[in-house]
Structures are given as C-alpha cells and as structure tokens.
Point group: C2
Chain length 337, copies 2
C-alpha cells in the first residue's frame, strides 16, 4: 500500500542509500539531491517505516513506562504527558506497563518482554524491590526513576525531596501551635505498589521526632476506596484526645476528608487543620494548604536526562530534586484550645 524507500529512490532517480541519508543524515546529501528526494517522497506520500529502521538500527524506539496500578492518578498521568511532550517528538513510543496486582508484577519481571524491546525504562511512583531492580538492570538499558527511591541501579532519579517537604508541613503546623498531628495514608505494606506511600510515612514520623516530645504523631491507615474519608473521620472521632491537624498522603485524601468533615459539621480549619500533598486538581480553588509539585515538569526533566543518557552523556547528577514548596492556604490555622 504505502510507498517504500525503493519507490522513492526510483522516482527520484537515486539509490535507496541516498534516500535513507536524506532523512537520517541530511547534511551528507547534496542540497540539490535532497530536494529531489524530498519531492519524490512527498509525491508518493512516503513515510519512513519505524519497524524497519528499528530493526536495522537495533534500537526499539520505545521507552517503557512502568507504574503500579492503573494509569488513573493525577500524578502519573501528568508525568506521562510530560514525558510524551518530549519523547514523542524524538521518535519514541511510550508503552505503558501498568502492573496493578502481584501476578502482573511477577509476570512483568519474569518474562521481561522489555528485553531488547525498550531503549530505557521509566519507573514511575513504583516501589521496586532490589531483586526486581537487579532483574531490570540485566537488560543493560538506562533505568530512570520518577517519584521513586533513588537506588544505585537507576541511572537517574527525578523527584521532590520527600523528607524536607514533609518537614515543611510539620513545621508549619507546629509553628501554628499544633501538638498532636495525624497522618492519613494507605497502608504502604499491603495496599499499593507506590513508593511515596512509604517514603512520606517515614518522613512524617521522622519530622515529628525531630521536634522531640513536643509533637504527638498518629498514623491512620485508610482504605483505597471511596470510603477512605469516612473511615479516616471516624477514626479521628473515636480518639479520646483527637489531633488538631491532619496531614494526608495526597490531595486525593485531603479533599474528600474536608468535604466529609464539613458534612459532619466540622469546620476546617477551625476544628481541624488539613494539609494535602501534590497541589492537584481543585486544590487551589478550594484553598487547600498543600505541598506543590509539578509532575509534568518532572516528566520533561526525566525525558531530557534520558535523551542525554541515550546520546552517551553521563548524567550530570544521578538524583535530581525538583522544586516543591508548601502552598499555605486556608485549611490550616492555629488550633483553638
């Protein structure tokens, strides 16, 4: 159906080698010849075949995107958009490996269909084990982490500083006078493959302990489903000395919790301060105090780093900390005594 390089060569009266060069190394072709070829190509509506050039050149032109769970989170889909905004134009596809249960996870790392079929792997928000990372490393292709633990197997990692971000939050609340703070999150051990679940929890505990005995931390493991806000609220209510502030693992926990509180007659921040993480959809409009970060830019940053790596450059820094800051808005206030 479509014209091949042969057809173009004949029409332009040159060899296929020249046609190939015209597209891949235009400088090595006489402007005049190039013009002829380009014209012939246009007339025949010729497009280069990805599979053919991939086969011959030995590069798959695919960057695997590995993530835990369906690609439905605000964070991951923005990372993807950012990656694609750069990699697409460079000729890369981004196959999506969304492993959402242990079987899929095991399958991914055992058949390793990625081998020879990807030029790099982006590990996104995924709590990868060392065995798994080792397995990936045997491919010899660059491994990049976005929103993951910076492990030695990765050529580079892009993310925010979880520890200092959480410290910003805890200190903000502490400075407002809060002395009992709850952290609401998924149970990182059972409910999810996401890395930041674990990292943020640890950061919360360490931030509190830095303040010594002055702050009493509580951890509430909420379920993943729609009942998470109700569950968290009921847990808070039944404590005999409830905290005065709640930090949520992300906005997707914080916002429903706020709505739920309002329906139950609690005033935010009067009765309870609430902080989120991410500064995602509606956070600004609602006035949520939250940690701001930009996953789209992280995707772009990772893509740029990767392109350098693929071009043979050494990564200038193996861990790239992206900016994040505490957006103080109207869901936090000093506690009423």
């Amino acid at each position: 159906m479509g014209a091949s390089i042969q057809d173009v060569a004949e029409r332009a009266g040159v060899s296929i080698a020249t046609v190939s060069r015209t597209f891949t190394l235009p400088d090595k072709v006489l402007p005049e010849t190039r013009k002829k070829v380009l014209e012939a190509a246009r007339e025949l509506d010729y497009t280069i075949s990805r599979s053919a050039s991939a086969l011959k050149s030995g590069k798959s032109s695919r960057i695997a995107f590995l993530t835990g769970g369906e690609l439905d989170s605000w964070y991951d889909s923005h990372v993807l958009a950012g990656l694609n905004s750069i990699l697409h134009d460079e000729g890369y596809d981004i196959p999506l490996y969304a492993v959402s249960d242990v079987q899929e996870r095991h399958a991914f790392f055992s058949d390793m269909s990625i081998k020879r079929n990807a030029d790099a792997v982006m590990v996104v928000s995924f709590q990868i084990s060392h065995t798994e990372a080792d397995k990936l490393a045997t491919t010899g292709i660059p491994l990049l982490g976005i929103n993951t633990e910076p492990i030695p197997e990765f050529s580079a990692t892009v993310g925010i500083d979880e520890t200092s971000s959480m410290e910003l939050v805890v200190n903000h609340l502490f400075n407002q006078g809060h002395r009992s703070i709850a952290y609401v999150c998924l149970d990182p051990d059972t409910e999810s493959f996401k890395w930041n679940g674990r990292a943020r929890l640890q950061a919360f505990l360490s931030s509190c302990s830095k303040l010594g005995d002055q702050v009493e931390p509580t951890v509430i493991h909420a379920p993943k489903d729609e009942t998470r806000a109700d569950y968290a609220l009921s847990q808070l209510s039944r404590m005999n000395r409830p905290p005065t502030a709640v930090i949520c693992m992300n906005d997707e926990y914080a916002l429903p919790l706020i709505f739920c509180m309002q329906r139950s007659g609690w005033m935010v921040p009067r009765d309870m301060s609430v902080v989120g993480f991410d500064d995602s959809t509606y956070a600004r409009e609602i006035g949520l105090t939250t940690i701001h970060q930009d996953p789209y830019e992280m995707g772009r940053s990772a893509a740029t780093t990767l392109l350098g790596l693929l071009a043979g450059q050494e990564p200038s820094e193996s861990v790239r900390i992206q900016p994040s800051f505490l957006a103080v808005r109207s869901t936090t206030a000093p506690p009423e005594h």
Copy 2:
C-alpha cells in the same frame, strides 16, 4: 546482547522456523519440540523482537491515540488507561499524538507519519474536520472515534448520547422549576479542539428550545485558565435577571464555580443550582449533580471493537452509545422566588 531466534534454534537443536512457530502458532509444533524450544528460550532469556516481527508481518503493532491538547484531562487519561488495559496485553503500543496548537495539528495531518506506522487510529475527544478525516482515511487503516462526532470515515464511534444526556439535565432543572438556565463552556470555536465542547452547547440549546418559550437559555463562554470560575461568576452577577441554574460543560468548570460562589457568599443550591458533566474526581464527595459516564470503560469498549475489526470482523454497530445517567445529588434544588 540479547539472544536472538538463531541462538534459541541452535540451543534447542531445531530450525529458526520452528522457534518462530513455537511462539506464534504453538499448535503447529509437536509438544515435545515446543518444550525443548521453550526451555532453550528460557535458558537464554530470549524475548521476541517486536521490530523484527513487525517488519516481517507488515503490522506496526501501534494504535495511534490522537487527541486535542495535552493528555492531562480526567476524561482522556481514563480513556487511555482503558485502551491500554486491553491493547497492551494484545501486544499493541499506543503512541500519543497530543496536538495542542494549530501548527501541531497541521503537522500531524500533513506529514502523516502515522502512515504505515499505525494499525489504527483512535480519535479521542477531538473535533476533526472532514478534510482531516479524509486524509486519515487514505491510510486505509481503521479509524475509531471516542467522544467524537460519528462521521462516516470512522469504522466505529464510542461515546455517550450527548443530546439525551443534556436533555436529562435540562429537564431535571425544568421540573424543579427553573426557567432561566445558563450554560458555561469554553468558546468551542476558538479555545479548543475538543468535540464535546461543540456538541454539548448545541445539545443545551436544542434541549431548551424543545421546552418552547418556557425556558430562557444563556450561554457564557469562559476562558480555559484558572480564572474561568471567577469570570463565569462575574458574568452571572452582572446580568440584570440572573438565571437560577447553571450547567457547566464539565465538572472541571462546575466544581471551581461552586467553590467560587461559596467564597462570594452564594449558597449552592439555594441561590443557584449547579450541574456538571462527567462525574469525575470529587464530584461524588462534593455532592455535585452531574452526568455520569465512564471513560475507562469507553476505552475498553473501543479497544474490543478495534480488535474485532483488526481480526477482520465487521463492526456490529458503527455507533456505540455508552450508558450515561444523571446523578442527582445536592447542588440542584428548586429555585427560591
């Protein structure tokens, strides 16, 4: 680096043809032989090369995903997740063609890099022109629409019934006693390539006119950016006889509008009823009355249809209407006189 089909053949003591068959047509290989091959493959950590098989078989194993604007909308990213949940396992990649300005749009349809490099095109939420559709049709590959106008060039279209969904909304408000209703949307002619912008606006106007002179419709074109809610509210405020209800083109307009109203001291639904479209993130938690639809399922539905098409089946129905319904919650109520 990686083992090739040659290596496996040698190790298993068979020809490469047999190795190939073992993976693509296992039934045509003696169980005994198959076992040998599979074992050799495992020992060598062999994975089939996608580019090689793509080249030889003439199929690209790519399904192009064409959408207007960055892939950051709730709707589009859920469609993608749904598509990928089926197509990935079938061995398809889904390259993302996100055209967000006129240049990119023009480039996409003029270089047609998709030609010979995609087995099908998914047109998602995109207001495609007839010229463009014709151009795509010259590739001869299946064209599917998701959340698009059902045009003859498409083999199939998946979406909700925009007209009847909007009628559900308008009639709900009418039955509550609303007689002056505003519709808030992007200006479909200038601000976006998204199809439903146009379709919903038309549906709004026709739904109102079906009720004759009894309902007075107003259309407010709001900007795309963060000021959209403020802008819409200011437009509403300056009307000398403001409507009693507002329908928004989607939840991403409705929710900020509600927050904005609350900040300005308006009570929803007492002072103004608000309806959204999509039933997306937080809509349920906030109690937004909205049209519910499931883009993830639409993606899966379209993927299934496509696989049938690719397997040579005729599509059973060229337009597939996915279920949608009005979720009546707490942002609509009879108007106070």
